[in-house]
Symmetry: C2
Subunit: 270 residues, 2 copies
């Protein structure tokens, strides 16, 4: 007998993982969470039927959502991660030797399950500079501030994450940033959901002077092509050059990730 | 009832397409060929269980395997495509206004089925500059020459394509090129088959002075990250800047496609 978990990328396209066993299935206050042990991708965290992260390829997503904004900032001391309960973004942020990394995760089950089943990702919680806040990121940015970099590492805009893609939220994000502050956010795949990253781009553009989209190859996400959006009132460019231990990211990747195929550029032309 | 075709990317990972119907299933002299009508990707050509091309995303592969070598050459007049029986690489090559495009496809069924079911791809055959040769590409390069660009648009190195990844073949490719000639080849995904593009790189490096790897996002190929290898005795760099009607390729893409993630670079370090 074989056990497969297939994620429906659309009604008509699916990506399947053969699994050794279901390690956990929890219905939390906010969402339906599975952890599977797969054959090829190590442990796999699934929320509401959607792959969040796997032990094998998580490095791409976490390096790209963090190092691009962190190297765009001249000196990031205080970092806020909204979502990111698995701890992976915090782990990457620590490589920049910041003073504080705050993680605001709405669902404490995500943190608990990540600590238990994704220790290589969640190990960042052991670092005293990482401060975990279990709560609503939308509320958190209304009440806190002076962050140099804010990383919005959320699920897709369904369920509890919907508000994290709205203009009102981005206004509060801006208020929570220092004047040269930078925000980055995962914004979906143009192949299946072009409206998603276009919506992020449009909403960020209403609040920040500079907004750009960049790409990374993520084999376990729909289509393999993933967008991130970055915004600031300062020009988006490489401002530091430090040596990082990374498996995906490097300075050539920073420069090239902003090159978009024509069809991606054209999706959200005004 | 639902009908799905799942390609096994590995023993433990699969990508599935919901299909409306099987349009054709032929066992040719060389391989097992299916054409499906899918819900999301238009018509889909499958050879020996492996997705070759879909109407929806074929533009990425065909633009990237052609425009990178064609713009690396200062003035490509004579082009040879080995494999490429669907006609897509020839279609893109024609955008450069060459004098002749020769397509050497071993399996005439691929040409026939492409003409019937993938007319938007196979339409290049109607152009009088395109010359179709049904035969073995390995033999063809031994007997013909004076090509400015040779594009090896084959299946993966199994079955009839094995010889297209060997050093002996690359030596004949070099002899079939003009002195400033350029060869490009699809070389698989580093996520699942790093040995494949490393092997291509090593074998090409034994024959050509300059060899580089570049990448493109192809949602229907395993992992979505696909490598191409390009080689020449001249430095690999952009030599022309012409306006092309493309959906994926542009000059920023040319420049950025050569940026490789660390783990890809490291796979085939000697």
């Amino acid at each position: 007998m074989e056990l497969w978990f297939d994620e429906m990328h659309t009604r008509n396209v699916r990506l399947g993982f053969r699994i050794k066993r279901e390690l956990e299935h929890v219905r939390s206050e906010f969402q339906d969470i599975h952890v599977f042990e797969t054959y090829d991708y190590g442990n796999l965290l699934v929320i509401d039927g959607t792959v969040q992260t796997t032990e094998r390829d998580e490095f791409v997503y976490h390096e790209m959502i963090v190092h691009v904004p962190m190297l765009t900032h001249p000196n990031p001391r205080r970092v806020l991660i909204i979502g990111g309960g698995d701890g992976g973004a915090a782990r990457e942020a620590l490589k920049h030797e910041p003073e504080e990394v705050h993680v605001v995760e709405i669902d404490k089950m995500v943190v608990e399950l990540s600590r238990k089943y994704l220790p290589g990702i969640a190990k960042s919680y052991e670092d005293s500079r990482v401060h975990l806040h279990v709560g609503d990121g939308i509320k958190f940015v209304e009440e806190n501030g002076e962050f140099d970099v804010i990383i919005i590492d959320s699920t897709d805009p369904v369920g509890p994450a919907v508000g994290l893609f709205e203009k009102k939220f981005y206004e509060n994000v801006k208020n929570a940033l220092t004047p040269k502050g930078i925000v980055a956010q995962q914004s979906g795949t143009p192949y299946y959901h072009p409206e998603e990253f276009c919506n992020v781009k449009r909403n960020l553009s209403g609040v920040f002077k500079y907004v750009r989209t960049y790409l990374a190859y993520i084999p376990t996400y729909p289509s393999g092509m993933w967008t991130f959006s970055i915004a600031s009132d300062e020009e988006i460019k490489l401002r530091r050059n430090i040596s990082l231990r990374t498996k995906y990211f490097n300075l050539n990747i920073y420069r090239s990730a902003f090159a978009l195929p024509n069809f991606v550029e054209e999706y959200c032309k005004d």
